[in-house]
Point group: C2
Chain length 335, copies 2
């Protein structure tokens, strides 16, 4: 059983003052309430001796502030990126003297409504509405008129709340420029699922195009190493001689590495590889993989800053995705 919490009345009795005197002292109002220094010292000593802790929940009934934030996400597990976004959110919340609830909806609107209601029952001050993958969302009705910030998602309507997403378009520009700077002009293939339905893929492709890189036929695969291994292996067997691969994430790059090695093609001398994510994996591959960072820690941190810091006009914020240059890009041969 938890130890019984000392009450304000017990502090007052031990100090030999009234409950309201004790209350004024502990609220720092001894001066305007003309409380003697002697009484003040007795109250403070009694509070210390009894390990008195002001009841924040009782106080919150008056102030309506619990100094808590809830992070409501579709999914939290399975991916280190989610971890980085939570970590950034947590760090910023703590910096603002807030504690962080987390909850997961599995993308189910009924679970979401129940979860948000449960948080409202605990009088959470503010919400982070987060998505695992960058995408358009509809903000739940229960959240619309509350302090809320969108993390890794945005609404199609004009922003009524701050939204923080990675700048995927600029990341595409960066990928293209990195290859163009190394002299690559042809034989550049995208590896991945270039579906129009995937926000990141769509924006990256547009960025690559706007930077003036011309792509050869894409090598279509899912977002996993084995799928990429099979797709790249098949393309090489069919006679493809790529000069450079733009892989849509580091896992795809791992599969591409495995397929190139199995076919006896060397990285970066024969084939250059660039990727997106800059996960741990990128630094573990041999040669180390040049990859464009997903700024998930920064997304979490800045989202909470916007939520708990000074108010500002709602906007969509696209955070930079810097390239981490490693050893997987070679100079294009003279033609």
């Amino acid at each position: 059983m938890p130890p019984q919490r000392a009450t304000l009345l017990q502090v007052a009795q031990r100090a030999g003052v009234s409950r309201s005197t004790a209350s004024f002292v502990l609220a720092g109002r001894h001066a305007d309430m003309r409380i003697s220094e002697d009484a003040r010292q007795r109250v403070l000593r009694a509070a210390q001796e009894l390990d008195y802790r002001p009841n924040l929940m009782a106080r919150s009934l008056r102030t309506k502030v619990t100094r808590t934030v809830a992070l409501v996400s579709d999914t939290l597990a399975s991916d280190p990126y989610a971890g980085a976004a939570i970590h950034g959110s947590l760090a910023a919340a703590v910096a603002h003297g807030h504690l962080l609830f987390i909850g997961e909806t599995e993308g189910n609107p009924l679970v979401e409504e129940k979860l948000i209601s449960d948080f409202l029952d605990r009088q959470v001050d503010a919400f982070i509405y987060a998505s695992m993958f960058t995408r358009y969302v509809r903000l739940p009705r229960l959240l619309r008129d509350r302090p809320v910030v969108l993390l890794n998602c945005l609404t199609r309507a004009a922003p009524a709340h701050h939204a923080f997403i990675p700048d995927e378009h600029e990341a595409g520009v960066t990928a293209a420029r990195t290859l163009l700077d190394a002299g690559h002009r042809g034989g550049i293939h995208l590896v991945g699922n270039a579906s129009e339905r995937v926000f990141a893929a769509r924006e990256r492709l547009a960025g690559i195009g706007s930077a003036g890189a011309r792509l050869a036929a894409p090598i279509e695969c899912e977002w996993w190493p084995e799928s990429a291994y099979e797709a790249v292996s098949r393309a090489l067997r069919d006679g493809l001689a790529p000069r450079a691969l733009i892989c849509l994430n580091d896992r795809i790059a791992l599969g591409a590495y495995q397929a190139l090695r199995a076919a006896g093609r060397t990285i970066p001398d024969e084939v250059s590889v660039i990727s997106f994510d800059d996960s741990d994996l990128a630094a573990w591959l041999r040669p180390q993989l040049t990859s464009i960072s997903l700024p998930h820690y920064q997304l979490g941190w800045q989202a909470v800053e916007a939520l708990l810091g000074p108010a500002s006009e709602p906007a969509v914020h696209r955070l930079p995705m810097p390239v981490r240059l490693r050893a997987s890009i070679g100079k294009a041969p003279f033609e």
Copy 2:
């Protein structure tokens, strides 16, 4: 600004009943309080129309129950295992109708004390005290007399609380038996940091020994691919001809794979590899890596079950670490 919460008084006024009648109806006590069906219907309708939500925090001042759990961890970021433990804890908490706070101490006792105090100020019902790596801990003084469960850590003293850790000793037995079953008797090397100070390494080594596997000289390295790559490469250059490698985690196995491949040794025909973690990486390597699972989701789930479920005698629970057989272990040649 959040919409103003409807009060019980407003519900009562709209329904044309007294505040206490409304309260009894909403608490389901219309029968024992002899409230007419007509009044009951009016109260329920008014509550619905006003989107009335019982003030759980006001109620908690009476019942002392907030239905919240706090997960206090040394670190939460950077590792997918932490994510799995949090996810398991969250799922079990929600199954018990509780919400989950998370907080991080960075292993700093002052941060830890402040964080726990902040949770106590919000009258959290129960605590999960978690560690990133399995280890012995001292439970913070503030938590000792409260409902608390230890996740991935344990105390040296007789358990005053439930503690959930992976069964690392049995995992060592499993690793040894898997190799013995494939006929391996010699040329088995541990790859990793076999320091007595690391709980998991110490227990696994003891398990390997107790299963009757004799290890040749260990290949010492840190817990990262590059360190393992260099250590295994050096050992091979020095003339080592290993038959089997027991890698202390999947990252080390990745480095070992890279070193074996660079030296022209094939897996599993010439060298068998077994590892611990069963992370995503194990399934991504070629050949796929046989690895022994860390049960972090289960640790989280079962810890919270013990915390919020029926009370039982405190104990240390060692959760099974099953082997996931894949393609990295070959039969030993006849000698």
